[in-house]
Amino acid sequence: MKVEISRRRFLQGSVALSVLGGTSISATNILADKSEKKQISNKLLKNIPTACEMCVNKCAAIAKVKNGVVVKLDPNPYFPKSKNMLCARGDAGIHALYDPDRLKYPLIRIGERGDGKYKRVSWDEAYEYIKEKLVKIVDEEKDNRSCIGYCAGEGMAEHTFKTFMADKFGSSNFVNHASICLQTVVSGYALTIGGYGLSDLENAKYVIMGGANRAEAIITPDTMDLFKRTRGRGAKLVVLDPRFTNTAIHADRYLPIKTGTDLAFVLAMTYHVISKEIYDRKYVENNFSGFEEYKRHILENKYTPKWAEKITGIKAKEIEEIAEEFMAYAPQSIYYQGRRTTWGKNDFQLRRAQAIFTALGGSIDVKGGIIFGKKLPLAPHEINVPLYGNSKERIEKNAAAIIGGSGSWIAWRNMIVEGKTPYPIRGMFVYKQNPMLSVPNTKKTKEMFNKMDLVVVIDTMPSDTAMMADVILPECTYLEREDPIKSFSGAEPAILLRQKVIDPMYETKPVIEIMHGLAKKLSKPLWEITKKYDEDIKEELADLGKDETQEDYYEENGFNLADAFEESQEEINKHMFVPKYGEKAWKELRKKGVFYPKMDEYFEKIDNNTFKYYPENKKYYTTVKLENECDLNFIDTCVNPKDVAELKREFKTQSKKIQCYLGGMKKRGIDPMPTWHDKDFVEVPDGKFKFISGRHAQFTQNSTQNNIMLLELMRENYVWINDKEAKKLGIKFGDLVEVKSSVGSVKIKAYPTAKIIPQTIFYIHGFGAKSTGLTFAHRNGASDNEIIEDKIEPVFGSARMHETLVTVRKV
């Protein structure tokens, strides 16, 4: 990235730049410098509790600050979700803060999109630039606010950005990570058992993980709970994966399943337990809706283990054994939900089948099964939302059976690229997301940005997406801002606060201040446009009483876009917390970073590795409403989990029961019950491979790609290819190969290994950045989305990331 700065500005900025020079190697190196060592004394040492944002888990951390420099991040023991740990990424958070490539001041593009030529401007100049373009667009589109799309990456402040774009600005065209991540599993479980739930891996005795890789895609507390209990220590683990992952190391049974056949495996297990009648009959009788239809469906379609053996490559006998073991350990057995589940066309059905199978053991809403937990309430933060008569519905609402509030990234983008939108999408605001690397088929994403009149990117790093922006607004990192307070549900619920550790560096700002500045600039000019085109408002303004001015109307009805961001984040957090828990608890929260009722009494350090958060009888394992109130007393004293499981209860589904049959889906052309269709399965022809993608424990998607501390753990990604097949193709370790699909090709080094099944290749997501602004990440390995085809599944329009066929060739 080239940044043009005037001589004067350069001098202004040189102080900041010299600090940066010192931090470029290691934060701790600054301290090792002898001249500075004398100044630093322990007087200036502060320990500030905060929350990690190196991935989505939000673990509690304590930042050690010396003389205004963050020198170490330590785990915070008070948080029951993260249980006193920080992973490699959490530890390396300092290098996100002191990354020399960080976006430091607002930038406006002066070259072509993507070539990285920008000039440094002031915040006011940046806002002014956005205002001019945006007002023109909204005026031309006659106040249809939806003509501006927006997307956001997951994070505590995501909603601050959404509040501005959706509630205040008024656009319906929001896309986020859900449709390229967990939409199918979250909705699949919600529609079937009433919620995604949490796997109680601290108590489960039998766990099947299909594709999920908790050792390398760390989820708290699942990762920590599970791997302390595997390998003959209480939790039996079955792993299905085309790849022998670090999770598979811990498996009692590792099954190298053929890619895309998990549904057949689950259906066959279901067949076996139903035909042998080894499921929990009492639980099913009490809590299932549509079971008889499901039973008939499974039996009539003959989803036998023998049938599944041919599809999955797993022996029928093994399928039967696993099904029997699962039921023997039930209700403390779990078919683990999974997380990033954008695999194939039948993904929604797979997740439903998993949920129903788990429920057949009675393992929903019971200790050791899938639990729903409790969430500690927070007071609402209210926003005055204006109503716009001309804002239209989202463009891709008919792209799949159900398009929710977070949209279908692929369908949405493709409509823009193909020019098939019902009204033009003229601009886009991007916050903390990097669709150039994260959405399948990069070429099309680039094309989409090129069609836009205004692209604004708010981020901390000059990502590939930032390089497509007209205006880049630099956000500060998570260690430089307070974020909205968050309540975490679970068996041991708690509230976590991300506090500012140091003041924002350079000219960066937290997103709430960016939104405030932008709103102040945009509010009045946009109001003028609304007054010009909005018939309802015209009428209402005409009918105003004598003592009411237009200004009053503007303020009272929320058209002052800045009013939602007047308070500081600290104040907002206080207003959300204090009414529920009081001033004393507020002080405690700021001191410890974590709060839950009776923490003082309950919290106990057992040793340096073990902490107790709640007494066993105060944990929220069973929370779903029971049909008979008197059953509640029964639970407290009950020792047999099976008895608890079998109680009649009310789930948060349509029928208040485990829902086997979804009538509403049938009307939308979706199978009402999980069904295997041969035609939906992508066979791999000779000479081709199926491409799969995934994660590992040292990088978070593509957001940590420039972190030098993490890059030394893995410099670039390699393509995994079955060693026998590699031999046939003459490919050796480290050889450069070309991986080519119908949408693109990449060059990447090869890693032939016995740890992956034939006909499937794999490489890790998050590498292959092309932005020249990323000194360390630039062109390391390859990006998966350059070659993944942009197909969507029919229920939610989610991506189908594991169905792309590729060829591999040594170059």
Partner: protein
């Protein structure tokens, strides 16, 4: 005081949090081969099936450390608690200690122009009671403690478990205690047949005697 570390290596998922926390805590030079701490990987295929064993590791802080004896400038030395350290101002980079170390626990830190190694985070023991690698570990592989303190968590743990050492036959009296899995199948999978299995009672006497002999050299 006699500091040591137990490793419940069965918990390891090779996430490398320990390596990163170590580098951040101690300002270790960047570079993949500059590690004070690491996860040893034993990987292979048996009957067509892949397997991996993970052995998280670091300096053993041996009681009879060959790296200390071999150092011509006394840069390698013991400090209180039997921790083996390097004084960078005395190191002449002859690398004799790197040759002598059976565990390959030492490397050259180019920024300090000295050999560098694990210090059991001795600068933070008073404040935190443990090392950075133990604190950060998601699955809690490590347990740091004082072998002389019968009340400390480490000794309590060792009294209830069996344990073994890496390369014990070299007689350096290492202090990384690998906890033997209670499940026999998993124990057999990750421990070679020739490895000696110890219990606290039979081990204590030998180590105490060695410590008594050596501890005169431990600088305050």
């Amino acid at each position: 005081m006699n500091y040591a570390m137990a490793l419940n290596y069965q918990n390891c998922i090779n996430c490398k949090a320990c390596e990163t926390a170590c580098k951040e805590e101690n300002g270790v030079q960047l570079g993949a081969d500059k590690q004070r701490i690491w996860v040893g990987i034993n990987e292979g295929v048996i009957f067509g099936k892949p397997y991996i064993n993970l052995y998280p590791s670091q300096c053993n802080h041996c009681i009879d450390a060959p790296c200390v004896g071999v150092c011509p400038t006394f840069a390698s030395h013991y400090v209180d608690g039997g921790i083996v350290k390097v004084d960078p101002s005395k190191c002449i980079l002859c690398k004799g200690c790197m040759e002598a170390c059976p565990y390959d626990a030492r490397f050259v830190d180019d920024t300090m122009v000295s050999v560098d190694k694990c210090t059991f985070c001795d600068h933070r023991i008073d404040e935190y009671g443990t090392t950075a690698c133990q604190a950060t570990c998601p699955t809690k592989v490590r347990m740091f403690g004082d072998l002389d303190d019968e009340e400390c968590d480490l000794v309590k743990l060792l009294k209830t478990k069996k344990f073994f050492f890496q390369k014990e036959d070299l007689d350096t009296l290492p202090k990384l205690f690998y906890i033997v899995p209670e499940d026999e199948v998993y124990a057999r999978q990750s421990i070679s047949r020739n490895t000696t299995i110890h219990t606290w009672d039979e081990f204590k006497e030998k180590y105490d005697a060695a410590k008594d002999k050596r501890s005169k050299e431990w600088k305050k």
